[in-house]
Symmetry: C3
Subunit: 483 residues, 3 copies
């Protein structure tokens, strides 16, 4: 049953060991505690020091007044207490949310959760370094703390979105190699947007969702399998696998407000972002159910829509969520996102597969791609449509460059739009290149007949041994019921 | 297999679209950011403004000293940091807790999680408006933030309790209509209790649990199905569905301390409420296991009891949890709640069904109804039994009207008791009326033969396709084992 | 099918009722609110009072400057806001993490989650008292709050580790009795380490993991069943049970940073511990996947390794996590822990079973035993290897006795090493004694033929009744696919 080329006995250990040893060495050379995690710095008695946290440049613009490290500050002012609950919610989304969302396939649950786990564990380490190199190198060192942990998890999320596109058709080795390149490109794109262009994208409609989706779609396009229908009967759900997937869906839905608000400025922006996202998701759920019943066979709801499209409201609120979008605006955005997403699953995905040869296993184009673009557009429009007077003195927390007079709102909106184009370019070009890299035969991709199948990479146990006895019980009971 | 009357192709989309559009318009007209979510207000430099948060009146009595909005306040004093972790725990209870608790039915998992999701997404939006209109309209506007989000989730919880009573016997359209009315009545009852009567009910023994349970019981009474035994074989669990249900149970159990303490006053009341609930639940679990083994067949534990009765300690600590009940008192309350709840499942539920024609699918009378009443009584007794001197200067956070000298503790206790009667009246009368409304034939209720069955409203996949191959494997293994 | 000796109808209720009534009485006599949960004390206007919290002595050494209870302190300074999110993460690990991790057995899911639930609910109450008696009795009273709740959950974790060793082979009554003794011994050992020896062990590599593992291994050694192979076919997983177990694994993995940091000092130590653990776990996951593919059959990954060994990095960072270990050091520790743990599962567990007659159902020796010892050693080495200058003014939060000049770092390291020996002694001797106590026949242990089987203690439902209809559907579909 196992092809030797897919055998991971040596390939996977060698890759994991080499990668981890490289990571450890690089951490040893470059990484240090930031002011909030270091015993010496946090409790230091000199007030005269730079701000050395390693989080993304764009994210901490304007934070200086909040996190100025006074030597006499209280332990309770440690950023841990203001970021860590958000971090844990994001963490749950990455490992439970993405992991279980992908378990909808009937025979790919081990791989969905398990490769998600492996790829994420690698990516968050690599992202710490890449984001640190690009955004936060001070005196040759990357200083890290809870905010860099959130940013690393965010970057990991992008990789996992791409994983959704290629789900079932790649070896764990291919996924690790994809992660190496994707994390790197993600960090470059993020730096250009947040650091150079001064773009606002707290929840990552562009940096995370649009990037991850189109990157993954290009990879799966290059890895196109004309004979994938040989595994078609495994490329679907069963009753219990849909239930496991709903665990992922619901966790993503619940914690999306924490995701979008995790690295906004402290105070009202964080609070507002969470609330906007909450209402966007609620409205999105309503339109998702409506559209699912409308387009699905026989007026019945389709689990694929519920599991995915109901989340599009979180994606679409990723850029504008921190702005004064209002719950009213957020609900309109979520409402539209749900409609677009269900229509994508119903009508666009089949076309993408047939015409463009894009085999998008999880439909990431419908959950992350289109809603991500919608979110980017909403962000650009909101930036210019809401007058800056609406923000009052709070403007500098959301648009520091506008508050400082460096740019006006229409310029900000223009930069937001440019950022979408930059992101799409990086994602598409990067995805194509990485797709070709992943075609190297030695990487152990599964044959067409064994896609969407755990047993090629996992020891898979049988089903219940008590089946025989239970059948007897069941038959008895059925007899009774039929009386 | 599908009856045309249950076909949701047009009904559900029309309902969802109309409802959501109404919600969006009303949000546009009435809803605005509160002081902690608005960029302008939070960072404003005028100290002279009213307190415009939209949360329930009774809940913020006495908070003025805590949340006075000074113009120079720090970002770290934003209420987000003191309520949001509690909110997220409550959110998990609503969507995972209630959603998965109801998946115990063998063929109703999609509907349990999925309709829970839809109804909750609608209810939290509608509740924001209804609670806002009744409790927090200032200058014609409802100002919202994390506390109103918690209150909206609370109201949603009440609707989901009622859903438990009618589980398996209603269409999603019926559930949405039930939610419209129930949210409204909930808000009126809540306003009377907390706003007019000055009742304390932080964890909602009365407002949430008693109201939701008896409302749902009346609805299911009016929707009585004499021939429900045609679906009887589906109205039970299977092994895996019980495992999924335990996910719901455990999450409800773990986060109940957060639920009861989510909208108490800050400081010691929030801390104390969480701790009281923690010990109440622990004691309740002990008595639940004891009673289950005692009354169940052959001394074996019954999953129905464990999944439900072990939670009764949280319900019963909902009113008195914020008072100086002590862990000792909390444990006694939880201990009794577990006993009452198991006895209810074993002896009372069959009587309710046979004699009173109340078909209570999830046994909400045992988990929310009786323990809710117990909690209300314990609250009234505790209010008068613990001398106010025990609270010292902290009295005004728990009993502001007693602290201000407006009333004495026995008057407070009287109001607590009156509140129970008011709540029961609202729930019973409201439930009856709404039950009749839901009997309108066009709403698509399932026929008696298709209750507790997902496939009437959902595309349901088959079971594992690999069954054949596995059977072969299994047989081989069984042979070996039988040697 | 049920042996009368295993019938729990009277035994379990009697045990639960008596234990709970004793608990309630002892709580009534000894337990009171601490300064942060009491309405009177928290809002008191006298500044002159002692520090009466009931948490473990060693854990609060040096905290006085942080938690000094000034009469004018703000509600926002209540410890609730700085510990409760950590507490909830720990709580999830105890009830969902441990509970679902053990559901990997095909027919023992009810017992895994259910007995975990019962034993934990009992243990946390008993631990509150035992830890209070030993660590925090003031004027004959135990003052409790969120920190004591975390400590109680920690102690409970230790009992659940031992449960993993005997999983499937004990009655709920035996488990309760084991918990009575284990909680007591845990508290004594913890007091010796943290209170008398001044050892640092914030995440409990020694107090929780090493103690729980070797205690459980000794119990299962004494309860050795030579004919356990009669139940061998049930002592394995099936596809869905492995999926449920992954829920437990992922939650433990995600929240381990919260676990290790839950009762460190506030400020930088808590922040640093969480971050060190995060990187330790990520590195551990990489080495776990590498080793699993390397040693498992045919290069395929083994779910047993992924479910367990990937967590060893959290265990191994339990002692040194709060020290200035650096992410670099943490990753090395995690990397080694994963390797050791997989090797243990593959090569050591069979030897333990065959040669030493230790039937370790969950392999707790590999997840908690060896990694716990590794963590203790790493802690001792780190204590002396990192110069105290690296801590600057933050030294007193981590090594208060070194900061005060009472001891030097090498003495501290020596105490750390002595603590490991003390812990192992307590665990091994205690486990042997308790093992013999559990052999009392009346306790209702399952017969060899009915180990790893829910139906001996639980009402177990059948499997899906719709099986017949679905088989028909499936056959049709299979036919189509085979065309």
């Amino acid at each position: 049953m196992t092809d030797t080329s897919t055998n991971m006995r040596l390939k996977l250990p060698v890759a994991c060991f080499i990668l981890e040893i490289i990571l450890i060495i690089l951490f040893g050379v470059f990484v240090e505690y930031d002011y909030d995690t270091s015993a010496k710095l946090f409790n230091g008695n000199t007030g005269n020091h730079g701000h050395g946290t390693g989080h993304a440049t764009g994210h901490d613009a304007g934070t200086s007044q909040n996190t100025s490290h006074k030597s006499d500050r209280n332990d309770y002012e440690n950023d841990f207490y203001y970021r860590y609950p958000s971090f844990q919610d994001v963490h749950v989304m990455i490992f439970i949310g993405f992991g279980f969302l992908m378990t909808f396939l009937q025979r790919y649950g081990f791989s969905s959760v398990g490769f998600n786990f492996l790829v994420a564990a690698f990516s968050l380490q690599w992202a710490t370094l890449m984001q640190g190199f690009l955004h936060g190198l001070h005196d040759g060192k990357i200083a890290i703390g809870v905010e860099s942990m959130i940013n690393a998890d965010f970057c990991t999320g992008s990789v996992l979105i791409s994983f959704g596109a290629v789900l079932g058709k790649t070896s764990p080795l291919q996924l690790l190699i994809m992660a190496i390149f994707e994390v790197t490109l993600f960090s470059v794109n993020e730096y250009i947007l947040l650091g150079l262009l001064g773009t606002r994208d707290a929840g990552g409609s562009m940096t995370i969702h649009t990037f991850g989706a189109y990157f993954g779609l290009m990879v799966t396009r290059i890895l196109y399998r004309p004979n994938l229908n040989k595994s078609k009967h495994k490329n679907s759900s069963v009753y219990h696998s849909d239930m496991f997937a709903m665990i992922g869906t619901i966790y993503l839905w619940m914690f999306w407000p924490s995701f979008n608000s995790a690295i906004t400025e402290h105070g009202d922006p964080q609070h507002r972002t969470a609330m906007n996202t909450y209402y966007s998701l609620a409205a999105c759920t309503m339109s998702t159910y409506a559209m699912s019943a409308l387009v699905a066979h026989d007026g019945k709801l389709d689990m694929v829509h519920i599991q995915n499209a109901a989340l599009a409201g979180g994606v679409a609120a990723g850029t504008a969520g921190e702005m004064m979008l209002t719950p009213f605006g957020s609900m309109i955005v979520g409402f539209l996102a749900g409609i677009i997403s269900v229509l994508g699953f119903k009508y666009l995905s089949p076309i993408l597969e047939e015409k463009l040869k894009i085999q998008d296993t999880c439909g990431v184009h419908n959950l992350h791609g289109m809603p991500g673009i919608l979110g980017a557009i909403v962000g650009a429009v909101t930036a210019v449509a809401i007058p800056k007077e609406v923000y009052g003195n709070g403007l500098e927390k959301v648009f520091p460059d506008v508050a400082s007079g460096e740019r006006d709102t229409s310029y900000q909106a223009g930069m937001q739009a440019v950022s979408l184009a930059v992101t799409l370019s990086f994602a598409i070009i990067g995805g194509v290149i990485v797709g070709f890299i992943l075609k190297v035969p030695i990487l152990g991709a599964p044959p067409d007949t064994a896609c969407f199948e755990d047993s090629i990479y996992w020891e898979v146990p049988g089903e219940e041994h008590h089946h025989q006895e239970l059948t007897a019980v069941r038959t008895e009971e059925s007899d009774k019921l039929n009386d």
